[in-house]
């Protein structure tokens, strides 16, 4: 049964759509924030066997509440095992065990390059952001990458100010013509970008992001207004499936549980 559309927020639509993209049994390297919410929703609904790993070293974790930080105790307590951070990045990620890298971002451009470093010039930044963290190698060493981010002109820019994490590079060719040994270990890069308005996928030839599905009730004009470049739409544009009542209920109770848990923290 689907939830009545009027009752679903755009951000819930985004989370459910992103969760659905994660197949059961997939090994997913999870970024904090929105990706963590979607990956855990997937685990609690259609993908109970999804393996979630976080860069703090927690392998196959099943948190009951969403962590505030990437290294909350909840992640370690509910994990199959916890390894050191060098082991996580070297053996598990670089070693080729991750199917999907699930990332958020501050800025994204038409070739799905991500910027979490700064706005403006590197030496004299207008806004200094936290930096790359695990993302640069998650994006190249995972077999594919999902990006999840709320859509606006500030976020969706023609060219990012700084490529922290590569999608397809400045001209869409960054993953072409690699040394065979590198090519053997590099993933396909971003395969979907899920926003609160739509789903985008890279064009198979030039790798520019193309809208392939609109969320129910969203118009092309809304997407155009929220994108900083001349965004293309697929010839056959799909409409995202409406979330089920169960998905919405599980998501909301996860968020209530999480809020209650973190509100219990002393201030």
């Amino acid at each position: 049964m689907s939830q009545p559309l009027a009752d679903i927020t755009p951000s819930e639509m985004m989370t459910v759509t992103a969760a659905r993209a994660l197949g059961n049994g997939t090994t997913c390297f999870v970024g904090i924030g929105l990706p963590s919410e979607a990956a855990n929703l997937a685990r609690l609904t259609h993908a109970p066997e999804a393996v979630l790993i976080y860069e703090s070293g927690t392998l196959q974790t099943r948190p009951d509440v969403l962590p505030l930080s990437i290294g909350d105790g909840e992640l370690c307590e509910t994990a199959l095992t916890t390894v050191s951070v060098p082991e996580m990045f070297r053996y598990w990620l670089q070693g080729g065990h991750v199917d999907v890298g699930f990332l958020g971002t501050a800025q994204i451009d038409r070739y799905a390059n991500l910027n979490t470093t700064l706005v403006g010039d590197y030496r004299e930044p207008k806004v200094r952001l936290p930096g790359g963290g695990g993302a640069p190698e998650i994006a190249t060493n995972s077999k594919e990458v999902f990006v999840m981010v709320k859509q606006s002109r500030r976020t969706f820019v023609k060219d990012v100010d700084f490529i922290t994490t590569v999608g397809f590079g400045r001209d869409g060719t960054a993953r072409d013509n690699m040394h065979p040994e590198t090519a053997r270990h590099m993933g396909r890069g971003p395969t979907r970008v899920i926003t609160d308005l739509c789903v985008m996928r890279p064009d198979p030839v030039d790798h520019e992001l193309v809208v392939t599905a609109l969320h129910p009730g969203v118009t092309r004009d809304q997407v155009i207004d929220a994108t900083g470049w001349d965004i293309r739409f697929a010839d056959t544009l799909e409409t995202t499936a409406i979330p089920t009542a169960e998905e919405i209920e599980v998501l909301r109770s996860l968020k209530v549980r999480t809020e209650r848990h973190h509100a219990g923290d002393t201030v």
């Binding site: 930080s69 290294g71 370690c76 916890t82 951070v85 936290p130 790359g132 960054a174 590198t182």
Partner: protein
């Protein structure tokens, strides 16, 4: 063999002005008490290394202890920016801060290389990223066997590593449990090391593959109860997520930051300084 010292004496002996200091902890077991003692002793011109500089580095930067930061993610996890770090980068306040920025994978490899006594770390990293354009310490190396070009960065070999752990026994052997981060690598990569612990016990009483750093590989062991707070110590106390959220407002302007540091660090005794 590790010496058992007071926090004051350990910092006074091993952390010199101008030193390269790695205070590690991946969200968990962050050595706040030791950081506060470094601030109280007004150490200057430090090069700080850490994968995830969070509140304690924000405090050390805001108090003028730091000239250079080597890092891979500098934020308040789950909350937002580190405002003192931003003020230093964006407005050079209170002193200019030179930053050398990496990715997590690279820094993890560089700690491991440091622990292994190698000059550099090699990884399949930074592909397509702009980071090598702004950090001249990120170079490439060609594999002599396959011809593949790989990223190379210098290994991390700090003058001093400072970490916090759950417990030590009477010989100074230290047990770390939970999210273990890069702490063992940081200690083994460093010339000197200070390990603060929640308690000293008769026996570590653990399993054969536990993460233990032998006392003979550590310079000083210091008892600092709740020494990781507001971060957490697995099995002892939880992360004070509420304080991490509160810090955002405290650190947002220079005056409220200075007042908080005065009340909670500068005018506190070591055992009172952490929450």
């Amino acid at each position: 063999m590790a010496e058992f010292l007071s926090l004051h004496d350990a910092v006074a002996r091993f952390v010199e002005n101008g030193a390269t200091v790695a205070m590690e902890g991946f969200t968990h077991l962050i050595p706040f008490a030791a950081g506060h003692e470094i601030i109280r002793q007004q150490k200057r011109e430090l090069t700080l290394i850490r994968m995830t500089p969070d509140l304690i580095y924000d405090q050390m930067i805001g108090m003028g202890c730091v000239k250079r930061l080597i890092f891979s993610w500098g934020g308040n996890p789950g909350v937002g920016s580190l405002h003192r770090l931003r003020d230093a980068v964006e407005h050079h306040h209170p002193v200019p801060l030179d930053i050398r920025e990496h990715s997590h994978a690279a820094m993890a490899c560089a700690y491991e290389a440091g622990a292994a006594g190698l000059p550099l770390a090699v990884l399949r990293g930074y592909v397509g990223s702009d980071l090598p354009k702004v950090n001249d310490q990120i170079k490439s190396i060609t594999c002599p066997f396959t011809g593949e070009e790989l990223a190379a960065i210098p290994s991390i070999r700090p003058d001093v590593a400072v970490i916090h752990a759950q417990k030590a026994d009477r010989h100074g052997n230290v047990l770390i449990e939970g999210i273990i981060g890069v702490q063992k690598e940081a200690v083994l990569a460093a010339t000197h090391s200070i390990v603060t612990v929640e308690e000293i016990v008769e026996s570590l009483d653990t399993h054969p593959n536990a993460c233990i750093i032998p006392g003979w590989a550590i310079s000083a062991v210091v008892v600092a109860e709740r020494g990781a707070s507001p971060s957490y110590a697995h099995g002892y106390y939880p992360r004070d997520n509420g304080f991490y959220k509160t810090w955002d407002a405290i650190a947002r302007n220079r005056e409220s930051f200075a007042a908080w540091m005065n009340d909670h660090v500068m005018n506190a005794r070591p055992e009172e300084s952490t929450r």
